[in-house]
Amino acid sequence: MTLALSINGRIRQVQAGLSDTLLTVLRDQLLLTAAKRGCNQGVCGACTVLIDGRPQRACLSLAANCEGAAITTLEGLQRDASMARLQKAFAATGAVQCGFCTPGVLVSAHALLSHNADPRTDEIRAGLSGNLCRCSGYRKIVDAVAEAAKEAKP
């Protein structure tokens, strides 16, 4: 059945059944593949997107329940200055290894910096605690977020 979802500022018509998640719709219909299907259990964080401005799990969100919500994926943050700083810092710092977790980490880091512009190391670690990196490259990820915050200072 057809649903109208607000995704990255545009209303998109999608087909969804009762058990289809937002992640399935994003990846398989809209070909917005930044959000990854990792565990599909809400544990790994690879599917993290913004729903009404807050980072949430696309894999735990039923598509039918997302009507009326404003959904922002990593693709929708491509012209965002804070995201650009994060992406540059991730590349420069070597925070991307296999890259599978990176989109989810970037969305969580973006949300963290939007309400805490100058986080301490422990605050960065807590802010990213819902995102697993199976390459275990956490140290450089934390360094990259700190670097992006530093870059944002006037």
Binding site: R57, S61, L62, A64, N65, S108, S129
Partner: protein, 285 residues
């Protein structure tokens, strides 16, 4: 536009009617539990009643008596961040801020969590220690059940078929301390064992409520433990005796996180640590 079988009612009454009259329907709150189970093919609801469109279920409201009502759809992040839950009620905030991670705390709700009633979850012992009541709705109306009676068995609550949690009632906060200590393999994991404690302090002395999580089919409590701690709060021997009473009342099992034997050993130590921290918090006031 709609998906067959998906309902998003605007009132508790409509939701209760839909649940009662729809075969195989399940309630959806934040999705952190139900959708995960659907993705794992452990739940295949024929119909879903989303509670997301019911305004009265969202948020924390102060009551005329000075207590609070936490709506069932209130996210863990909102509960963790509400400074009005102070004194003895701080036990609930302390539990909420230790659930999972920031992203899950933006999704998960108090109604969904306690309705699922995983005994290793963080809210069940905290609600018992806070002396909370759980509000349940059905097609005929609403009723309230004390938290200590709401949790019945493993993943089983006082909710019957066609019933769902609509909120949690907290008594007025009393001056004192409330805290939640969780022993887990990593931060944000389910508890191997946890201790929730509320300590009310006034001119007449100290009154303690304590409950243990993760160590049996439902939150573990013992009248003897509350009485021992209330009579001699901060006394090491009383804390040890209370810990032994709670360990004796526990009914732990072996699972991937720890053995039953380990849990029995660790309860008194976690109780002693929690009491020491609560005493320090009271003295710092």
């Amino acid at each position: 536009m709609s998906v067959p079988g998906f309902h998003r009612p605007k009132s508790v009454e409509d939701a209760a009617r839909l649940l009662a009259e729809t075969d195989g329907a399940r309630c959806l709150s934040g999705g952190a539990t139900l959708v995960a189970m659907m993705n794992a093919s452990l739940a295949e609801p024929k119909a879903i009643v989303s509670l997301a469109g019911i305004p009265e279920l969202a948020g924390i409201a102060e009551l005329a008596n000075g207590g609070f009502r936490i709506g069932a759809m209130t996210r863990h992040a909102a509960t963790a961040g509400d400074a009005r839950l102070a004194g003895t009620l701080a036990v609930l905030r302390d539990a909420a801020r230790q659930i999972a991670n920031p992203v899950v705390r933006n999704m998960g709700t108090i109604g969904g969590s306690i309705g699922f009633a995983d005994p290793a979850a963080d809210y069940p012992p905290a609600l018992v220690a806070a002396n909370a009541e759980v509000e349940i709705a059905n097609a005929a109306g609403r009723r309230r059940v004390a938290a200590r009676d709401f949790f019945v068995d493993w993943y089983t609550t006082a909710c019957g078929p066609g019933e769902f949690v609509t909120g949690v009632y907290l008594p007025p906060p009393r001056p004192g301390a409330g805290l939640y200590k969780k022993l887990a393999r990593v931060s944000g994991d389910f508890a191997i064992a946890s201790v929730a404690l509320s300590a009310a302090k006034d001119a007449n002395g100290v009154s303690i409520r304590i409950a243990v999580g993760g160590c049996g089919p439902r939150p573990i409590r013992a009248d003897a433990a509350d009485a021992l701690l209330s009579a001699k709060f901060g006394d090491a021997a009383a804390a040890a005796a209370a810990g032994e009473a709670l360990a004796a009342a526990a009914d732990p099992v072996d699972d991937v996180r720890a053995s039953a034997e380990y849990r029995r050993l660790v309860i008194p130590r976690l109780v002693a640590e929690t009491v020491a921290h609560a005493r320090a918090a009271l003295e710092a006031r």
